[in-house]
Subunit: 157 residues, 2 copies
DNA sequence: GAATTACCGTTGGTTTGACCAACGTTTTCG
DNA sequence: CGAAAACGTTGGTCAAACCAACGGTAATTC
């Protein structure tokens, strides 16, 4: 992508700049995840969701991280084989599988937490702490406006 | 994606917020493009690149908008069938196809310009004009930092 | 209480964007 | 000249996102 001849119309566009920034972020995360032995970006979300709550059904898990049931099945199977989580039928509702994170999974999540934090730092490197705060606050408002989500409560950082 | 049970770790992350915002932007653009009869997001980039320069080879076109040669071929074929651009062999270098936008293509691009502008407005609706400016300026710096591109020159808006 | 409806996990798809390899043709370089 | 590179094209692969249908289970509605 040659900056000299790139379409002028594009490079000032919010959608384009957001797309580029998002791509860079995903690249940084992906590189670090891959180095940590994780092939899919959703694994972090799933482990995080499990760590922050008790045992959950797969369907719940999917709703919480915005993942299709079928994709949750594949991810959970893989993570279970690696010993990062356990899957047992729910005695109270035998349609459900209760998924819970293991100690090994908790350890692994801590590793990923560090990688993810480093990636944030790397992505926002050119911005001052005040600017990062302002940027995130604006993004929160944009996301809230379009999704109806209310993240503001605890979205400090 | 339930805001009450979404992983707390995720919703303050720059990468996550950028991804969400980018998705919303792409959704808005996609909806309007689709309504205008465009199936692929890259068509706008290609028409814009062609409108801003004279006739160009397909390979050049791909480099300018960050598209693979093979994908340019498909897009150009489609756009040619719709009459939005013409493709003629370059007499000076018979490896190349000279692609140029047609009058009909220029008209169509104007339509898309309007749709794209409307999508930007819609995406950034919750932000004040000053905030939008600050947001774009920060994103420009982030993108420049990670790509080596220098967009700053004319990225006002 | 029986029957319909809804939810669960799973399997097996489709679609889309991004990417890559190879080819015949043409130009450029050494 | 011959080797290397660039061009457009074809025909892939790959991962992410999504959808449909299934058997099994629970909740609902009559």
């Amino acid at each position: 992508m040659d900056p000299r001849t790139m379409p002028v119309r594009l490079r000032g566009l919010a959608t384009w700049l957001l797309g580029q920034s998002s791509n860079q972020g995903h690249r940084l995360i992906g590189e670090r995840m891959h180095a940590a032995g994780v092939t899919s970006r959703s694994y972090y979300s799933l482990l995080a969701a499990l760590a922050e709550s008790g045992p959950t059904s797969q369907a719940d898990l999917g709703r919480r991280v915005g993942l299709d049931r079928s994709d949750v099945t594949a991810a959970v199977t893989d993570l279970e084989e690696r010993g990062f989580l356990g899957r047992t039928p729910d005695p109270a509702d035998r349609r459900r599988n209760l998924v819970r994170i293991t100690d090994s999974g908790t350890e692994f999540l801590a590793e990923l937490d560090a990688e993810v934090a480093a990636a944030q730092e790397e992505l926002l490197a050119p911005l001052t702490p005040q600017e990062r705060e302002a940027l995130l606050a604006m993004l929160v408002r944009v996301v809230e406006h379009h999704t109806g989500l209310k993240l503001s409560d605890t979205a400090e950082r």
